[in-house]
């Protein structure tokens, strides 16, 4: 439990993604099997120990401590498992219980027996081991390790491509012994999972200048839809919907799953479709948040699959065939299915890049993010290799906003104010509309940092409020309605485009102007 507790602590306090990956790689290197596999499952939430509930913990601690002292402590600490770990009043000799034993014992113990077992274990642990043990038992570690981050760390640990791990992932289960054996130089496991995920082909960004070196006739183009990239699979009756990193999202989309009446693997875009048109991205987001969507939301936010590629068909691997062949087959397939929940992403007709540029400038629907350009002769190759698939996005939207708050960064940005909250005018007030922490150069960071230090009006921990004087040109990719934000808006990928020292704050944008962009 000690090494697991240590890694848990490192992950919880390391703010950067790269730092977390480094700690994970080190953990995979230093922990033995099967312990590291269970640790991995605990981090990614794949350890199914469902019996230890918060109320069980409350009951346990109520028998051991004064209710008033516990209340005061919990109020101060703010986290139940942490409070119990720290307040536990008994301590025997510390036995460093192997994580594996803890997992197996928790899984094998009947619910009625759990309180006594947990009490016994807690007594022989240090507070940080207790914390790790209780977090393990209750799930929800919240250390900022997504399955994708864990797979990236595994790939680095084993010196393999992350797509190789994505492909295997759904056939594996804790404690992942064949996976670790392979990553340490052994045999690559064969995926035995039904309806496996196939690593997706990714595009690189382009623009009119870069396209000039290519012949338009070698490429096809289609709209870039503002939904999420998914892979739809039916493998001998096993149906799956995967995100582009291989997360299984089938449960959230029973409507689309119900439409996969075929044998094969298709690549496409998940969208919410209403009355023939496509609903804004925010509507899809509502569906993504529901693990078990009810009848009402299925009716009000019906999901659909817009196909653009075909990977497997009737047991045959089509990925090595040229794109045009795959597209032709796909067109027939979609026509045969004749299901309103599955349609085709149509091809755009163009003879020159200039013509495509004109199409891109006038999309038929607001849910288009730009155009995708794909080489006709290209095979379907996992990963992001330049030259076959391009995305040519819309120019970003821009708004002039006023800096309101700044927060200190970490790692290489330690000591610099590098995270900025900015706002726009609503009447005489500035309402915050977003936060950005990139887009500026090192020199601009220094300038921004200096502004913050010289214009601080208030401090809250690592955050400073500043005089609302500096105008920032903020670029962003889209705008959604959001009830979580005071302004009612949420920006996508906001970044600082320029510092507008030339512009007075009074001339910054307004909330009404922003709302027009919805």
């Amino acid at each position: 439990m000690q090494s697991f507790a240590r890694v848990l602590e490192q992950l919880a306090f390391t703010p950067s993604r790269n730092g977390k990956i480094a700690h994970l790689v080190e953990a995979f290197r230093s922990m033995p099997d099967p312990e590291r596999g269970y640790a991995l499952a605990a981090f990614t939430g794949d350890l199914a120990l469902r019996n230890v509930t918060p109320s069980l913990l409350r009951g346990l601690v109520a028998e051991e401590t004064d209710a008033e002292l516990f209340r005061l402590s919990y109020e101060f600490v703010g986290d139940l498992a942490e409070t119990v770990a720290l307040i536990w009043p008994h301590s025997g000799t510390v036995a460093d219980m192997p994580l594996t034993d803890a997992v197996e014992e928790l899984a094998a113990t009947a619910k009625a027996e759990l309180p006594a077992l947990i009490a016994r274990r807690l007594t022989h642990m240090t507070p940080s081991q207790r914390y790790a043990y209780l977090k393990l038992a209750t799930g929800g570690l919240r250390v900022g390790v997504s399955a994708q981050l864990a797979r990236t760390a595994l790939a680095r640990f084993g010196g393999v491509e992350v797509t190789e791990i994505e492909e295997l992932w759904h056939g594996l289960s804790p404690p992942y012994l064949p996976l670790f054996a392979w990553l340490e130089g052994g045999e690559k496991p064969v995926s035995l999972a039904a309806a496996p995920f196939r690593p997706v082909m990714l595009s690189t960004a382009t623009n009119l200048d870069d396209l000039a070196e290519f012949a338009p006739a070698d490429f096809t183009a289609e709209w870039k839809w503002d939904g999420i990239r998914v892979q739809a699979v039916n493998d001998s009756g096993t149906r799956r919907l995967y995100s582009r990193t291989g997360e299984d999202i089938s449960r959230s989309f029973p409507d689309v799953i119900g439409a996969l009446n075929f044998e094969g693997t298709l690549d496409g875009e998940l969208l919410v479709k209403r009355g023939g048109g496509i609903a804004p991205f925010g509507d899809l987001q509502k569906r993504l948040g529901r693990k078990k969507p009810g009848k009402a939301i299925l009716a009000s936010h019906p999901a659909a699959f817009r196909a653009y590629d075909l990977l497997f068909w009737n047991g045959e691997d089509w990925r090595t065939r040229p794109l045009v062949q795959r597209q032709t087959r796909l067109r027939d397939v979609v026509a045969e299915l004749s299901d309103p929940r599955i349609d085709l992403s149509p091809a755009l007709a163009f003879a020159s890049w200039q013509e495509l540029a004109e199409l891109r400038a006038n999309p038929p629907e607001s849910v288009v993010e730009g155009v995708m350009i794909k080489r006709r002769g290209s095979a379907y190759v996992a990963g992001r290799k330049r030259g076959n698939w391009f995305k040519w996005k819309h120019d970003p939207m821009l708004v002039d906003a006023v800096m309101l708050y700044a927060q200190r960064g970490h790692g290489k940005r330690s000591g610099y104010y590098s995270d900025f909250t900015f706002g726009v005018w609503q009447g005489n007030h500035l309402v915050p509309v977003g936060k950005a922490y990139f887009g500026f150069t090192d020199a601009e960071l220094k300038e921004l940092d200096r502004f913050v230090r010289n214009n601080t009006t208030d401090r809250f921990g690592p955050v400073r409020a500043v005089k609302p004087e500096l105008v920032l040109e903020v670029a962003f990719e889209g705008l959604n309605q959001s009830s979580r934000h005071k302004s009612g808006l949420a920006m996508r990928f906001p970044r600082i485009n320029r510092i507008r020292t030339d512009k007075p704050a009074s001339e910054a944008g307004t909330l009404d102007e922003l709302k027009q962009l919805l």
Partner: protein, 337 residues
């Protein structure tokens, strides 16, 4: 203690601080007074501008370092016992920082010990705590919640050294308050075998020098200036007051691991709030075990609880049939530890 004279006559709270009318002095007053007895040199206990100040010689030295030689009119160094206005006053080591003492006032019928801030864990940077027997114990309660059980100091230092070894390309920037904590961290690092130079922020210099004068071995200390360029700090340990982390001072270090040595680091949310990457649970205050153990060992007739989590410690006393009440002194903010 005679039943006819309530102990509040000997010592009671006033807006300025705890006041002893018979001796006409305050203990750790929060604003200037004619006569003050000071437990230790931390700013919320030791303020400038009093008339006569009684304190340990080291506390007087520290006040002079912090506030200048003219910090009061008259200094009366106390080692052990003294007397003021017919009241016997005893200074007993508190184990909190260099020179820190508990103050016991005794009018012949009642003895009241004011703990000031105290700690019972090993601290190579000051004299160890001693029990000061009394009828009434006025205890601090900074970490007065049963969740505060500080780990062994050296185990936290080892955590720091492990992190230094694991990340040789980064430097470790340790936040530690200038009086007491900084010198304790340095002394513990030396105990743990760290022999390389330790770099310190300018604000720590004079107090570190003073500790060395007083015979505390801090090893090779160097100013954290950028003379040798950023890269010179790779793999090094640098100490600074936490306030410096918000200043441009922190920009001179290469990809630093932000550490903070404080008892508050036991609570994860506190560490995250401060943006700490490596929390070091190192406290110069008594933890819950020591707060309650001290009360049991002293077995006073009453406990008065001052700054900190009064409610929980008073509750514990109730559960253990010990008469206790909170003093609710004002002017002591949440202890910087």
């Amino acid at each position: 203690m005679t039943a006819s004279r309530p102990p509040e006559q000997l010592l009671h709270p006033r807006p300025e601080g705890l006041y002893c009318p018979a001796g006409d002095f305050f203990i750790d007053p929060v604003r200037p007074v004619p006569r003050a007895m000071i437990t230790h040199g931390h700013a919320d206990h030791a303020r400038a501008g009093h008339g006569t100040v009684w304190a340990s010689p080291q506390t007087l030295d520290i006040m002079a370092i912090r506030y200048g030689e003219a910090f009061c009119d008259t200094r009366i160094p106390v080692e052990g016992q003294t007397e003021a206005g017919g009241i016997r006053v005893a200074f007993t080591p508190a184990g909190h920082v260099l020179g820190s003492c508990q103050i016991t006032v005794d009018d012949g019928s009642t003895a009241i010990t004011v703990s000031g801030d105290y700690a019972r864990a090993d601290n190579p940077a000051c004299a160890p705590f001693q029990l000061a027997p009394c009828d009434i114990f006025v205890t601090e309660a900074t970490f007065g919640l049963p969740v505060f059980n500080h780990p062994a100091p050296l185990s936290e230092i080892e955590k720091l050294l492990r992190s230094v070894a694991a990340q040789p390309d980064r430097c470790h920037l340790v936040g530690a308050y200038a009086l007491g904590k900084a010198q304790r961290v340095i002394a513990l690092l030396r105990q743990a075998g760290w022999e390389q130079p330790i770099y310190i922020h300018g604000a720590l210099q004079r107090l570190c020098d003073y500790h060395i004068e007083q015979g505390i071995d801090l090893g090779d200390l160097r100013p954290a200036t950028t003379g040798d360029g950023k890269a010179a700090f790779k793999g090094q340990i640098i100490l600074g007051p936490p306030s410096a982390f918000a200043a441009t001072w922190a920009q001179r270090f290469p990809d630093p691991v932000i550490c903070f040595a404080s008892g508050w680091m036991q609570v994860r949310a506190r560490a995250r709030q401060r943006g700490v990457e490596l929390p070091l649970i190192l406290s110069d205050h008594a933890d819950w075990q020591d707060l309650t153990r001290t009360i049991q060992e002293l077995a006073p007739q009453q406990v008065w609880v001052t700054h900190g989590r009064e409610d929980a410690l008073v509750r514990w006393c109730e559960l253990n049939q010990i008469a206790a009440r909170p003093l609710r002194l004002v002017g002591y903010e949440e202890e910087a530890d």
